[in-house]
C-alpha cells in the first residue's frame, strides 16, 4: 500500500507486524490507556545497593526475550550498554530487545551480540557507525524500529514499547536510587531521555561510578522509581560524553546559509519579545543562532525560551538575558552541564515533555522557530535524515520530525551541494519528516518556501530574500553537479521508520553489497 505521502510500504512486515500507515502529521489520534507498570513496595531498612550487574540480573531476574532500555546521554563515551550486554551474554541470555535512544560507534560490540543471538531486536531514534552499517547490510532478522525522540516517549507511555528493565547510566546517584546528571566524572547535564524509561519500565536500575551520601541533590530521577543501584568502576569516557566547547563554524558557505536563515526568521516577524527557538549543535544550525542573537541584541529583544539540545552558546544567551529560560532535554558541552547544575532558569525536561505527541502538551508545540538539517530533501519538502547517498543508515530523526511538527516556522538549512551531490531530489530515499511540516529550505544559492506557506513566501519576498521555487534550486544544483543515478536496494526491510504518532512513514531496505 501507499501511505498518504506516497511511500510504498507493506500492510504487514515480518517480525514487525501490521502496519498503520502514516496519515498526515496530526491525523492519527490516540485511543489507548497509559502504560502502568506493576506497583512496588520496599521495607524500611532494605537496601537497593547491589554489588554487580550480574547480581542485578539474577535478582530481577533478567530472562530471555526481555526488553532492556538505555538512554544515550553519554553518546560516544557510553560504557553502560556494552557492560550490561556483556553481562547478558555471560549469563547466556538470548533474544533481548535493546531499546537504546541513540546508537553510536562505541556500541559496536552490539554486532557480536546480534550474531550470537543475545540481541535480536533494536529500537532506537538515531544510529550511526558500525551497528548502523551492519543493520543496513541486513544483519538482523527483525527490522529495527526507528522512532523520533518524542515518538519513543509516546511509545513507552502508551505501552507500545514495553520496557522490562531500564538500565540508567547515572553520572551521580545515592544508594537509594536518586540520580542526577550534573555531578561525577561522567557528568552529562540533562537526563531527559531517560525520564520516560524511569516512569514506565517494570524495573529500573541505576548504574553509576559516582555514589554520593544519601540524599543526593539535585534529583533528576527520583528514588521512588528506582529499584536497584549498582556501583561500577566507570560508566563511560568523559571525552566521548560532552565536548569542551561548541564553536560556531568558520565555513563561509555554512555562515552564508546561517545568515540567510536568520534573515528568514526576521522577515517572518518573529524576532520580538517572547521569541522561542530551537537549533542543533552542528555547522549552519548553530551559526544561525549566532546571527539570530545579533538581531535580538540589535532590537533589544528578550526571548522566551530555547529548547532541545543545549550548547554553551545557548547558555551564554540565557546568561546575557536574551532568553528567559532554557528547556534542556540533552546537554552538548561542559557549559551546558555547568549551567543546568546551577541556574534555576535552565530547566531539565524529559523526552515526553519535550516532544511526545500523545500527552496534554509538549514543548515543541510552543516553538516559534526550529532550525533543522537534512541529508536529502525532495520537491515535496519531505526530508531524509536517516540514510546517506549510499542507502546506509547514518542517523535518524531524533527530535527532527517532532520539532518540525511543533514549530510555527520550520527551517531546513542545507548546502545545495553535499560534496558532489545535489541535496534536492525528486523523491528522497527515506522520509523521516513529512513535507507538510517543513516551511522553508535555506541554501547558499537561494531559499525555497513550501507552497503551503504562501503567506510566508510573500513576507520573505517583501524582505528581499532570494526566494526561488524548489524545482528551480534543484535545477541549479543539477546544472553544477549533474543528476545522480538513483540508488537500488534489496527487498529486505532492515528498519521501519515510525512517525512520532507511531504510524509508519517509510521503511529502509537492505543495501546492495
Amino acid at each position: 500500500m501507499k501511505n498518504v505521502i506516497g511511500r510504498d510500504i507493506p500492510d504487514y512486515i515480518e517480525e514487525y507486524g501490521r502496519v498503520v500507515p502514516f496519515a498526515g502529521a496530526f491525523n492519527t489520534l490516540p485511543t489507548m490507556q497509559r502504560q502502568a507498570p506493576r506497583v512496588k513496595t520496599i521495607r524500611p531498612g532494605a537496601t537497593k545497593l547491589i554489588d554487580s550487574l550480574e547480581e542485578v540480573f539474577k535478582r530481577i531476574p533478567v530472562t530471555d526475550g526481555m526488553t532492556l532500555s538505555f538512554h544515550h546521554h553519554f553518546r560516544n563515551g557510553d560504557g553502560v550498554v556494552n557492560m550490561v550486554l556483556a553481562t547478558a551474554a555471560k549469563l547466556g541470555i538470548k533474544n533481548l530487545k535493546v531499546a537504546l535512544s541513540s546508537i553510536f560507534p562505541v556500541h559496536a560490540p552490539l554486532i557480536d551480540h546480534i550474531k550470537n543471538g543475545v540481541v535480536t531486536a533494536l529500537d532506537t531514534n538515531y544510529m550511526s557507525g558500525p551497528v548502523a552499517q551492519a543493520v543496513s547490510r541486513g544483519i538482523m532478522d527483525k527490522p529495527v524500529v526507528l522512532r523520533t525522540h518524542g515518538g519513543r516517549a509516546r511509545a513507552i507511555e502508551c505501552g507500545q514499547l514495553k520496557i522490562d528493565v531500564a538500565f540508567i547510566a547515572a553520572p551521580a546517584a545515592d544508594d537509594y536510587g536518586n540520580i542526577n546528571g550534573v555531578q561525577g566524572t561522567a557528568a552529562c547535564g540533562s537526563l531527559g531521555y531517560a525520564f520516560p524509561d524511569a516512569q514506565y519500565a517494570e524495573h529500573v536500575v541505576a548504574v553509576t561510578d559516582y555514589l554520593v551520601e544519601y540524599p543526593l541533590s539535585p534529583v533528576s530521577i527520583p528514588q521512588t522509581r528506582v529499584d536497584y543501584v549498582v556501583k561500577v568502576e566507570s560508566v563511560g569516557d568523559p571525552k566521548g560524553i560532552v565536548s569542551g566547547t561548541t564553536r560556531i563554524t568558520k565555513d563561509p558557505v555554512g555562515l552564508k546559509i546561517a545568515d540567510t536563515a536568520a534573515r528568514v526568521i526576521q522577515a517572518a516577524g518573529l524576532i520580538k519579545d517572547g521569541f522561542s527557538f530551537q537549533t542543533g549543535a552542528g555547522g549552519a544550525s548553530l551559526a544561525t543562532a549566532h546571527f539570530v542573537r545579533q538581531m535580538m541584541e540589535q532590537k533589544g529583544v528578550t526571548g522566551s525560551f530555547a529548547l532541545g539540545g543545549i550548547t554553551g552558546f545557548m547558555v551564554e544567551m540565557l546568561e546575557k538575558g536574551l532568553f528567559r529560560k532554557l528547556m534542556d532535554v540533552q546537554g552538548f558541552d561542559l557549559e551546558a552541564v555547568r549551567s543546568i547544575g546551577s541556574n534555576p532558569n535552565h530547566l531539565e525536561v524529559g523526552a515526553d515533555f519535550y516532544a511526545s505527541p500523545y500527552n496534554s502538551g509538549c514543548a515543541v508545540n510552543k516553538l516559534d522557530v526550529v532550525i533543522l538539517g537534512a541529508t536529502e530533501i525532495d520537491t515535496g519538502f519531505n526530508v531524509n535524515v536517516v540514510t546517506g547517498s549510499d542507502g546506509v543508515i547514518m542517523g535518524g530523526s531524533g527530535g527532527h520530525a517532532d520539532a518540525a511538527a511543533g514549530a510555527k516556522v520550520t527551517i531546513v538549512v542545507a548546502n545545495l551541494l553535499r560534496g558532489r551531490l545535489p541535496i534536492i531530489v525528486d523523491k528522497v530515499l527515506t522520509v523521516t519528516t513529512p513535507g507538510e511540516t517543513i516551511d522553508v529550505l535555506v541554501t547558499e544559492r537561494g531559499v525555497a518556501v513550501n507552497p503551503r506557506r504562501e503567506d510566508l513566501k510573500q513576507e520573505l519576498l517583501a524582505a528581499g530574500l532570494p526566494v526561488k521555487d524548489i524545482n528551480e534550486l534543484k535545477a541549479l544544483a543539477e546544472k553544477i553537479a549533474g543528476i545522480p543515478q538513483s540508488l537500488t536496494t534489496k527487498n529486505k526491510i532492515v528498519a521501519v521508520v515510525e512517525y512520532r504518532d507511531g504510524t509508519i512513514i517509510d521503511v529502509v531496505r537492505q543495501v546492495e553489497d
Binding site: 568558520k250 563561509p252 552564508k256 545568515d259 547558499e444 553544477i480
Partner: protein, 290 residues
Amino acid sequence: MDLRRTMLFIPGNNPSMLQNGGVFGADSVILDVEDAVAPGEKDAARLLVAHALRNVDYGRSETVVRINTLDTFGKEDIRAIVPCEPDLLLIPKVETCADIKEALSLVIEAEQPGQKPVNLVALLETPRGIAEAYNIAQADKRVVAIALGAEDYTAALGANRTKAGTEIFTARTIVVNAAAAAGIQSIDTPFTDANDEEGLLEDTIVAKQLGFKGKLSINPRQIDVIHSVFNPTAHDIDWAEQVIEAIRRAEAEGSGVASLNGKMVDAPVVNRAERILHLARMLGMVKEAE
C-alpha cells in the same frame, strides 16, 4: 562606473571554493593562481580555474583571475585563462608602464576572435610600483583599476605592518590620487586578520575616507562589513537627493546659483551627490531616477 566595493580572493586550487565563489555577494571574485598556489600545483590550479570560468555561474560577481608574474608562470596563465573570458586579469607586482604593456600584448594575442576584451587591474606591491602609480594607471584604457598590495610593499620598505596602517599611509594616498588622475578606480589592500571584524571595519572606514572605491578581501566573512562602509548611508542619500532638488529648483527659477541649508551648491558638490545616487541606484537603495 563598475561596482568593486569588494574583490574576494578565492584559492585557485580549491574546487569547493571555486564552485561556491559566487554565493557570497562580492562585487568581484579573484580566482587566484598566484600566492594561493604552490609552484608544484600551478598547472593543476590553472586548469581548475579555466574550467571554473567556463562552467561555474558566479552570479552578479565579476570574474577576475590573479595570474602569476610574467617572469614565472604568467605567460602560460594568460594563454590558458584569457580564452575562458574572465572579465579582468589582476596582474601582480606591476612596477612600470612597460609591465602593463607586455601583459596586454600577451592578452590581446591570446584573445579569440569575437571574445569580450579582457581588461586589467594592476596590483602595486613594491616601492617602485607605488612610485610609478600614475604611469601604470594611465598605461592603457584597458587598465580599469589599480590596487594596493601592502604586505609585499611594507616588507620591501622594511617597515612593520600594523593594524593602524601608518606605514602604508603614503602608498594609499598615492594609489588613490594616481587612479583618480587617470580616471580609474583605486582598490585598497586586504585586511588580513579574518577574525578581527572591528579592525576590518576601522581599516575600511580609513580606506573610504582616503578615497578608495573598494577593498581586496581574503575571506567571505569580510564582505558584509566592507559593503556596509562603502554603501551610501540613508543620510548620504537623503543629502544627495536634496542637492539635486536644490539644483532643479534653481534651474526652474532661472537662478544661476543654488544653495542648500545656506551652503552654496557648486559643481563638485553636485558631482558627489550624483555619485552617491548612482551607487545607491546600483544597489537598489533608491528607485530608478524619475
